[in-house]
Amino acid sequence: MFNIVFLLRWTTKADIISTVEFNHTGELLATGDKGGRVVIFQQEIENKSLPQFRSEYNVYSTFQSHEPEFDYLKSLEIEEKINKIRWLPQKNAAQFLLSTNDKTIKLWKISERDKRPDGYNLKEDDGRCKDPNSITSLRVPVLIPMDLMVEASPRRVFANAHTYHINSVSVNSDHETYLSADDLRINLWHLEITDRSFNIVDIKPANMEELTEVITAAEFHPHQCNTFVYSSSKGIIRLCDMRESALCDRHTKLFEEPEDPSNRSFFSEIISSISDVKFSHSGRYMMTRDYLSVKIWDLNMENRPVETYQVHEYLRSKLCSLYENDCIFDKFECCWNGNDSVVMTGSYNNFFRMFDRSQRRDVMLEASRENSKPMQVLKPRKVCAGGKRKKDEISVDSLDFNKKILHTAWHPQDNIIAVATTNNLYIFQDKIN
């Protein structure tokens, strides 16, 4: 497994990072936070052709995506926290991304301006109108260079389509439609149309007292524009084909692993709830994250995952304390690397884990200030579950459960990763040589 070298650290000014996403080339990295802000970083590549290439990410654009709102009918505040950001594939000079809070999705256009017009006939450079009598000649205004300005403007607002809290958005491979999912429903949108969406999944029971399951995440297949999956609080993933019917309440495939009866406890249901689902880049596999593990599923096999990785098995005996301090409700995300050979997810104490599928190796690393020296190789960490603690190991009881890594992202092509602790963003790069 590669060595991970620390590259950069950035602080969000005391607001909690709630989502992290690379764009399709990896040149841009977007973060959303609890205050409704989006910050985009751009990769500055130093001599990519050289073997010791090192890339830096600098702040490219910052804007306020969502503001707090109030639902007067229900007397509820609508949080401005950004739940998800998804980039659209680039079609022209501008970049587009979708950002969503609990209720409203917005399409943002991020564009560069590095020229400005100069030489107007009727007004001065500072904008004051010229006295018409003083104009004796006519000229054509020209564009002159200016300092680069990055502008973000909201191009579409997709509102009022979700009764419950939005947990996912996913752009379709047709680049024209996208889905948004809340606890009970999934809607299909066209990027150009904001006043209408189609409901494609509805699991709300006629009698809410019979509710046993909610939708926790949803994603379109990376290549098949008719296929999407959604995960549930019961640990079930359903794959749906939109060609079968307009309302995809009946799944095409259902992925579920039978529960191990020896692991049954008060909290079995909570820890089997899936917090994230991600297709592999190939489209052949999908990965799910539940509280204690990461599972890789082959889309051709529904009855069990092909691989299971325990993220922090030492927490299984601590579930009661984790229930009391609310940590058991934490929703960890997971991600694939560019060629689907490694998967990554976060844990507590600012630890995050990588599992190399092909080499059957895994490592636990830490994102912290102590490791912040530039170009320092990260040291693998180990947690001691019980018994004699070796040197350099950390015991389970001294883990800091307030320091959690919920959001991670992997560059689509290179071995560059973005890891978000509570209010710090760390970018690490694989050490070459």
Binding site: V214, F266, C320
Partner: protein, 178 residues
């Protein structure tokens, strides 16, 4: 399972119930409103804990009389189960538990009843033993169509069987548009 271990399970179940109730209560004032997913998970944990608690209680009361109106009230705390035909089996590890003081259970049940929260149904009515509305409140009764008769809901029977659930619902509960 040994006597001591069964007792521990019972105590644990009660503790988890208490913790869950306080979490449900706290989630009321959460910014952004009640989270359906979280509330659902909380109610599942509460149900598991309650099932274990009651299975041990029932075995202990095998010789004694049934606790009266406390049973029905208890069910209200998890309204999702009201119409459920087959409640999930209790944790198989729960065994015959030793005597649990009556007072504790009624406290627990009344406490649950006070914090009568569910993400789905936010009835503001206290379903206590006196389930009839106080005198000073206007009587909220549905207008009857010609030929209809008014059915009286038996007091305290908030745990409606499937058959009379509708009539009990209309008199005692407010189902919000959700």
């Amino acid at each position: 399972m040994s006597f001591a271990t069964a007792m521990e399970v019972n105590v644990e179940a009660r503790r988890i119930l208490a913790v869950s109730i306080s979490k449900l209560y706290a989630s009321r004032s959460q910014r952004g409103g009640l989270r359906l997913h979280r509330s659902l998970l909380l109610s599942m944990v509460m149900r598991s804990a309650r099932d274990i608690y009651h299975s041990s209680r029932e075995s202990e009361l095998a010789s004694g009389e049934q606790p009266a109106a406390e049973e029905p009230m208890d069910t209200n705390c998890d309204p999702k189960e009201k119409a459920r035909l087959a409640p999930e089996p209790a944790d198989s590890s729960a065994d015959m538990a030793p005597e649990v003081p009556d007072k504790d259970e009624s406290d627990c049940d009344v406490a649950e009843d006070k914090e009568n929260h569910s993400p789905t149904k936010q009835s503001r009515k206290r379903r206590g033993k006196a389930s009839a509305a106080p005198d000073f409140l206007p009587s909220k009764r549905a207008r009857l169509e010609p030929g209809e008769e008014r059915y009286a809901a038996p007091p305290g029977s908030c745990r409606a069987g499937l058959g009379d659930s509708l009539s009990a619902l209309s008199l005692n509960q407010v189902i919000p548009a959700f």
